[in-house]
Amino acid sequence: MAKEKKPVTRRDFLRGTLGTTLGASLMGSKFLQAGRMTAGGSVADPSLVTIVRDKGAMDANNSVSSDVLKAMLDETLTKFTGKPTAKDAWLSLVTPEDTIGLVPTPHLNPTHQEVVDAVKSSLIEAGIPDEKILGAQGGPDKPKACTALIGLPGLKAHWLTGIGTVMKLYILYSGSPRNYHDENNAKLGEIWNYPFVKGKTKLVLVDALHPLCDKGPQPDPRYKWPYNGLIAGTDPVAVETVCLRIIMEKRKAMRGEDWPLSPPPLCVEAADKVYGLGTSNWENIKVEHYGWDQDLLLG
């Protein structure tokens, strides 16, 4: 007889037993065997996440400076990969034979077009043919047409999923986005494991130029602020965890008191514990930051 699904409640968070509850509710006993594994099945090293910021990335009208952004992107690529140039960095992540899909956030604090354009130009400069670089936000046909994906989410909170940045980026790939709202936001990670998505994400580059720290569901300019940053990593869960930290710290700073995200972002821990996509454990994340360091909001 199948065990009745145990709903997640506030008390699970208070008890600190969310991991067990959530995992069991989604995966049954398989959860207990799951941990953070690499694609090869071994426990991974700490995940590197870089933050590059420049105070001049946007002007007083929040217009993006393409020159500053290009320099930030170059620095992100070289610092993250340890390669001497942006070209070398890209070629350590993708190949000229790849069909590369760029995946920006389409709604509610969408990714700046300047970020998408900068990434595309940089890839072309690295030797990737223009026609091999596609816009890949949309239905399941988009990732199916690509051999590599570059995630370009905008940093934001979300009223149904708590945070709506990295794990939610591929929600349209499911073909049924409403199935991942409410409690089912915990299952967002499963989309990353679809056969036509799994293993294709070569870099997650978060547009943190002008984030949104409250959940919407529609943009409210009072909750946006110029962070002027790019956040990068290849572990999507680690990148999301850093994004979550920044949003939480900003909310606390804005209100002068704890201001929890509600509902809590179940998708982050589930992506780690249930779907094995990366780590949500801060101790297993190595954050390196470069450039403007005022109000980094890393706690």
Partner: protein, 323 residues
Amino acid sequence: MLILVMVVLILGGFDLFKGTKLMQSKPILPKKVGMWTGPDSPQNVTAENIFDYMDGAGELYLAYRFDSLEVYEYRAQNQPEILVELYFMNTSDDAFGLLSLDWGGEPVKLDPASKGERNIDDSQWPQGLYGEGLLRLWSDNIYARVMATRETSESKKTVLTLGRLITKDRENPSPPELMEKLPDSFGLDWILRRGMASFFRSHLVLNSLYYLGHENMLELDLTSEGVTAPYERKDSSGDLQRIQFLLLDYANPERAENALAHFHRVYLAEHPPPEHSGFSQKVVNVFPIEDGWMGYRLKENTLAFVFECPDQETVRTTLEQIN
């Protein structure tokens, strides 16, 4: 006979959609407002295509009694675009509920001549709130968002002008009755955090205000209504303490009792469920849980909860104070 049918339908409507319904003039926004020029006619959005217009944000409006949305885009040379969204809700309570989700921003008095059934005290529940280019307002059954993509002195003036045009000649009824059941204080020292008091109908919205659990364990839907707010006091060492109050009103006592049973089964599974109340009897229970004492009171079709209390006495005092 026809008149009788119409009366029945109208009264039935009031019963189904508890909350004041007024026949009000529909705002017709001008094509020119200052330097800005709008469309010849608005874009119309319904429940059927709301997700095409705003992606998942549509869930919020469908969590209230949404009827339709009109969208106007105003443009001016060298000035930011101004987007006007008029959400037509089935009742005034629903429009108020949308505004009540965030009382932040600068209160704006939009219609000084407003004449509701009761006087509206704008210092308590503002009709409009402005901040950094965005005006949000409640005008009877309309919830509106008027947003400049960038704030300039000219855009602020035009945004506020548009707000006044929307509310012009429209009367505002009182806030939802349930909202007015929130006391200013519990006992002598627990004071209502007015800026965090909200009206809702759905567990999705409740979870965005105060998370209890993802399952709809309180069996909320468009026939129910709820308010929630924190109450705060300073303890003897000057630290702020907070409790969370939740008041729910169901269509009938049976639904309220079923909701409590469901909540109990999910949230208080280690405790025996409440006995059948016979609907007219009051049921009060108090429990220690992980973040303090919580309790509930069921009476007829109303369920009251209080969470995170420092002691049993606070729970009982709070629940006893609710009429």
